[in-house]
């Protein structure tokens, strides 16, 4: 049954405690994170490939690790209900995938606008364009401007760590924003991987709703009378300016998250072979494939490096500019048709003709290492960095 857990700081849980290696799926890694997150309430709605993780969270509730859990009626309702629970001062968790994300879309900017530190996992998959349940992360491109902090996990270890670190970042009083932890569905959720876990008899210290830039809605936290002249009602400059400044503050809060992300994630991006003149830049599981392609290319004598982007919002613009300053070519493999990461990179750096937005796979297609290698060589050829493939 339930293990007696001691509430500790995030530093003690994630950095000071000894870890033990286990061989688990990404879905199980979610449950292991939620078990240690001191979550009061989780609300679930089924969708592939998310469902298994929320089944396991339900098992945690049945064992007594969570105090409330139920299946909602659709994703919009679930995201509204976790919003309500969060406004009431509770620490919450939920998860969804692809079409569920789009179904709930209207809620995400409201989470951010109301400054609620909701942590949500997104097990990304295709949306109906045409219908696909297969791994794809196009939904991330659709969430870029919702005001949410967005972390992209490469593997089950990232997934576990980013959920727990996510609470630590999201609940900082100067941040206090929703945080999404994204993975490429199936590749991470439905495969087993080695994951290092801290002891299960430790959990995060409880959320303190009084350490918030907005009052909990409990009729115990002043102010009781919240506003007098609402932003929405008046068509005048003052109300527009009030609305705009609130909006700017949401964006500023995400900027203030950078230092906490740096501390907990060890940087918004990671660079392998920083002196390379050619980089593969990726996020999520494309990083793993990119790393294999890098090995193959380096074995052939090409000086290739790898940049793993961990935080999509806020985006590591300055870090990316610095890391790619001397690079001649940047190849961006992605698991979606839109190429949103390549667009982000192009917008962030100087001389963006260096960016090759390829390969892009979707609809359930995998991203073989050979495909990345051949795209890198084609791009080098086009740039005159290679005489022939």
């Amino acid at each position: 049954m339930v293990v007696e857990q001691k509430a500790v700081s995030v530093d003690e849980l994630l950095f000071a405690s000894p870890r033990k290696q286990v061989f688990i799926t990404g879905s199980e890694a979610v449950a292991e994170a939620v078990k240690r997150a001191n979550v009061e309430m989780a609300i679930a709605y089924p969708i592939t490939p998310q469902s298994e993780s929320m089944h396991l969270v339900g098992d945690l509730f049945a064992k007594g690790y969570l105090r409330d859990y139920y299946r909602g009626e659709n994703e919009f309702a679930v995201m509204a209900a976790v919003h309500g629970a969060s406004l009431g001062g509770g620490r919450v968790f939920t998860a969804t995938s692809g079409p569920g994300t789009l179904r709930a879309m209207e809620m995400f900017p409201v989470w951010a606008g109301s400054r609620q530190p909701i942590v949500c996992a997104f097990m990304c998959r295709g949306v109906s364009l045409p219908p696909s349940i297969q791994p794809e992360n196009i939904e991330m491109g659709m969430l870029l401007d919702t005001g949410m902090i967005m972390l992209h996990a490469e593997n089950a270890q990232d997934f576990f760590d980013m959920i727990l670190k996510g609470y630590a970042v999201a609940e900082q009083p100067e941040v206090h924003l929703p945080l999404g932890v994204f993975v490429d569905g199936f590749f991470v959720t439905h495969t087993r991987d080695l994951v290092m876990l801290p002891p299960e008899d430790l959990k995060l210290a409880p959320y303190d709703p009084t350490c918030s830039p907005v009052p909990a809605f409990d009729m115990e936290t002043p102010p009781i009378r919240i506003v007098r002249d609402p932003l929405l009602n008046k068509s005048n400059f003052i109300s527009y300016a009030a609305n705009a400044s609130w909006h700017q503050e949401v964006l500023a809060a995400a900027e203030r998250a950078r230092k906490h992300l740096n501390r907990y994630l060890g940087g918004l991006l990671e660079v392998e072979y920083p002196d390379a003149s050619l980089f593969i830049i990726a996020s999520g599981t494309a990083v793993s494939q990119g790393r294999e392609a890098l090995k193959a290319l380096r074995a052939e004598g090409f000086e290739v490096g790898l940049i793993k982007i961990k935080s999509i919002r806020p985006f590591p613009t300055a870090e990316l500019i610095a890391a790619t300053e001397k690079a001649e070519l940047l190849v961006v493999p992605e698991f979606n048709a839109g190429g949103w990461l390549a667009r982000e990179i192009k917008a962030a750096i100087d001389n963006n003709s260096r960016v090759c937005a390829s390969p892009r796979v979707f609809g359930g297609m995998t991203m073989p290492v050979e495909l990345i290698v051949s795209e890198v060589k084609k791009a080098m050829l086009a740039k005159g960095l290679l005489k022939s493939v």
């Binding site: 609300i43 309702a77 509204a80 976790v82 919003h83 309500g84 009781i224 009378r225």
Partner: protein
């Protein structure tokens, strides 16, 4: 609300607006006020931006005066005319989006129950007919199916009034409104009956023309929601602006419509809820 929480910090007495001072000195928190006391205490709604003759404005005043424990009540609204008045209510209140009010209230009520296990925190949803019967109907009904301990109140002005007067599911059949240029094709959605069948332990239908009756129904609904399960109150008040009658006719029309049987007050009470009410009301004012 902890006693003494709502107060003015020393030195600020002169600076705070007059209506705030009145609220601190003569507000209804924990004072056991009701509709009969209107005029003798500072109301929770400070002015309102709704149209002249708006039945929702009066309903909202009566609603706020009827709350059995305003000091421990959080209200959840939705998009619509009533949401324009919400920011001027001296209770913590939430407007999230259009239609998600009951889903949000479900999470809120559960979180408050976890955080305050020894205290009653009333969560009351109050939204328009579009929010309740149309765009949010699935979430309204699922909160009833799930037996959430919340009260749902519909302000039925029979139209989408805030957006300029379109047909809603609660508009009467045959009415010509925007988006129903040839007249509405189907009757008013029978939400009180749907609520009864969907698991509401108490259902009431009333109008602001009879304040005491509205108060009785609302208090019953909230008291039953605390102990038993979901409850529903439907408040009938057609929109003078969009149904194009004079602002000073709102109440006389309501009385007339009730006399003619067009509007029928209703009460559906489960046996369990009736037993509870007998116990509570037997002892006088709840």
């Amino acid at each position: 609300m902890k006693p003494g929480l709502f107060k003015i910090s020393p030195g600020f007495e002169e600076v705070m607006p007059a209506e705030y001072r009145e609220l601190v000195e003569h507000g209804p928190y924990g004072a056991g006020m009701g509709v009969a006391d209107l005029g003798a205490f500072k109301e929770l709604l400070e002015e309102h931006p709704l149209c002249a003759g708006c039945g929702l404005a009066l309903s909202l005043r009566l609603f706020l005066a009827s709350l059995p424990a305003p000091q421990d009540t959080v209200i959840v609204g939705s998009t619509g005319c009533s949401s324009l008045a919400f920011p001027q209510v001296a209770l913590q209140n939430i407007h999230s989006l259009f239609g998600n009010q009951n889903a949000l209230a479900s999470g809120l009520k559960r979180a408050l129950s976890l955080r305050f296990p020894d205290k009653v925190k009333d969560v009351v949803v109050i939204a328009g007919d579009g929010a309740t019967a149309d765009i949010g109907l699935d979430m309204v009904m699922h909160s009833w199916f799930r037996q959430e301990n919340i009260t749902t109140v519909m302000l039925d002005n029979e139209a989408y009034a805030n957006t300029g007067g379109q047909e809603s599911g609660m508009s009467p059949q045959g009415t010509v409104l925007y988006m129903a240029p040839k007249g509405k094709k189907f009757p008013k959605i029978p939400l009180p009956e749907i609520a009864r069948e969907a698991g509401c332990a108490y259902v009431g239908a009333c109008s602001p023309a009879q304040g005491k009756r509205l108060e009785r129904m609302l208090r019953r609904a909230i008291l039953v929601a605390r102990e038993i399960g979901p409850t529903y109150v439907q408040i009938f008040a057609p929109c003078p602006t969009n149904y194009k009658f004079k602002p000073n006719e709102t109440l006389t029309r309501l009385k007339l419509l009730e006399k003619e049987g067009v509007f029928q007050p209703k009460e559906y009470i489960t046996r369990e809820a009736q037993d509870l009410l007998n116990k509570l009301e037997g002892g006088g004012k709840p």
